[in-house]
Symmetry: D3
Amino acid sequence: MSGRNKRTSDAELSVLARPQDANTIGTIFGGRLLEWMDMAAAICARRHTALRVATVSLTGVQFLQPIRVGQVMDFRACVNRTFGTSLEVQVVVFAQDTYRRKRELAVIGYFTLVGLDENGTPVAVPIFEPQTDNEIERWRAAELRRSQAADAEAPIFDA
Amino acid sequence: MSGRNKRTSDAELSVLARPQDANTIGTIFGGRLLEWMDMAAAICARRHTALRVATVSLTGVQFLQPIRVGQVMDFRACVNRTFGTSLEVQVVVFAQDTYRRKRELAVIGYFTLVGLDENGTPVAVPIFEPQTDNEIERWRAAELRRSQAADAEAPIFDA
Amino acid sequence: MSGRNKRTSDAELSVLARPQDANTIGTIFGGRLLEWMDMAAAICARRHTALRVATVSLTGVQFLQPIRVGQVMDFRACVNRTFGTSLEVQVVVFAQDTYRRKRELAVIGYFTLVGLDENGTPVAVPIFEPQTDNEIERWRAAELRRSQAADAEAPIFDA
Amino acid sequence: MSGRNKRTSDAELSVLARPQDANTIGTIFGGRLLEWMDMAAAICARRHTALRVATVSLTGVQFLQPIRVGQVMDFRACVNRTFGTSLEVQVVVFAQDTYRRKRELAVIGYFTLVGLDENGTPVAVPIFEPQTDNEIERWRAAELRRSQAADAEAPIFDA
Amino acid sequence: MSGRNKRTSDAELSVLARPQDANTIGTIFGGRLLEWMDMAAAICARRHTALRVATVSLTGVQFLQPIRVGQVMDFRACVNRTFGTSLEVQVVVFAQDTYRRKRELAVIGYFTLVGLDENGTPVAVPIFEPQTDNEIERWRAAELRRSQAADAEAPIFDA
Amino acid sequence: MSGRNKRTSDAELSVLARPQDANTIGTIFGGRLLEWMDMAAAICARRHTALRVATVSLTGVQFLQPIRVGQVMDFRACVNRTFGTSLEVQVVVFAQDTYRRKRELAVIGYFTLVGLDENGTPVAVPIFEPQTDNEIERWRAAELRRSQAADAEAPIFDA
């Protein structure tokens, strides 16, 4: 099993921000953005692995800019690192004002998905080998997030 | 007003074909595909024109391959030709089976949209100048579709 | 297999134009209208054929009037002509302003669907025999659209 | 203000029962049916009154037959009686199996809506005068439901 | 089969009233409320019976207060009475204005559902034994609604 | 501005897992769960603050158990800690199999929202004072997550 070129696994998704996705002051609900981000992450992971995939965790989501009705949202998903049977996919969302030809980073988040065979059993995914400088930096940061997650405390809740 | 490079106006949209978009035999409804195609066309037209846009006609839609739940649908919209205040945008849909890394042309259609100013009045759109061989061929075919549409008979219906 | 009376296969669908179906300036998205038109066409084709059906092409869609939130949309589908295993269904949409009791033609389009048996194989559909003057005119115009479609150039796209 | 002919206010709505509207055993959710019934009632009331309308009560809903994915649902709304500023609209739903050309009554319910002016104040609605035998019977039954509703106990609930 | 404590079968559902659920004047559609009420009733009935359930009738729905976009809707479902294979579930909806910390009863309705085994055959549901004063009053009122429904006239409609 | 009791700000949301929210193998999409979790967090934050709120970050989401169509999902949101103009809300999701009366923790995640005045400017939120042992533990863990987030590296992406 050799590493794959990231280009063919990248997922892009341009969506018009519509009134049905907005709150009362005309900005898009975080929950709707998370739903599209998860779909972009899943498409990217399926393209990289050629397997069924399931999201197992999500971390580091930052909503940096509100997105307004009428803007175009560009979702971009790419693989950051593979870990045996799982992989981290980064999703960034740009908000584009087509009238002013302006485009800003609006949201970022890190999804971890697991590769599954036809019976739903986790299986090894093709290794991702970073090549560009950005890819190498993202590959390192992914490891850091993974070790922090392992150190996290157990959930505390009222049953 | 000079011609613009088509690259920055292209719209791409990768969507997972889900059960909620399918009929009883697991293939995606034509109506759902048309909705996404229209959105991709609108994003492309907005990027090319930096104006508000409205769809005024649609022709030549062919559903060449059924798309199945679980496949990834790639919508690709690009400008074919401009006609004063309107432009023709071509949308193709590829169905990708990520398990077999296979990808086929599934749907094609030709949308005409008009550029509008803030009052909703049609205004001239930036001219599209074809450059590659494919662009030049599509630019010629767009003119042919336009002249056929002009020759079409008036609608006949019971009021 | 004899011809059937068009009355029992006609499909009607009245829908309130709601904010969730509208763009930022309060008019209904073309893509949403196309989705409902496709459903009306499918119901009409199923009623005429008593078979499973699938949309294979769509042509001549004209958005003549914008439809506003709060208007009632009347979708009307009727068979225009049968061609062996396929049939052309015409869908018109009227926009009704119930406050002023006014009603206008807003959209028209021509869907071609194929009849399928339980295995998905195309099968002959019951012949439609036009009777009224309008039906005979629509029957003739359907043949013209069919021959134009057969002459259309092959799609040109970047793979 | 004179009575109006019921024909022009009737609302019809044919919808294909789709997987997205069904529960796990392939029958359509009651809640989805109620949503479409309410829309049909509102369209009928708007056509009769040429006013804004709001649903104020609903009674006597009976789900007589389960509706299956793949069937065509015919919603039919008609005015039963007017009461000053309000009117009762009856909605029946037929489930049609287009393969067997069979059609059965599936659901019935009685909606009461109020007519509103532009400020949201209730205003008198045009009187409905029943003409056919069925209309006269329904007109009488509407009065009976109204008097029963007036006798109903106040709601009992934990605040 | 002994009676069950109502607490564990109660269903609560807090939902933000969003633009996509509203009409043109910013109040939530009755049809959308009915859809959520039906879901709350079904969850409550499933919790009480541990069976599959289907809604068979609905009566006494009153829309007492319009609900505005931006308010929080609290749906509360509880069992009122069991009748052999069926049970009546009451659903109330409170509209909460979180800015003013104010909360009002907005809608009430009474759903009857039937318990089903795996083959869809009605089966006896666990008996509900009312304990608090409110529960006893609701238990009595449920019987009254049931006898009125039994006396109702048959539906009258044009086939 | 004094601390408030957590009880009145808790948000509960029970939803039936439906086919329309599921992938091809009958389990609910992570993206749909995130959308509901975000809504529950927003309702909880609005109840605690009596302000407008916006989600600014999300971390530590773990999908511990797949949720199947037909199960009841219980979303529970509660305040963990306040930080000046923002607050952390914890959302847990339980999956309930009503047939077996079994219930398991399925998802957990930590949302940070900011309180906004009518102009969209961040304003101080009412202080949350933990009282029970669980509340005190969650209050401590929230501070830890906050300091980790502050240490996180800047996003790395291709513009």
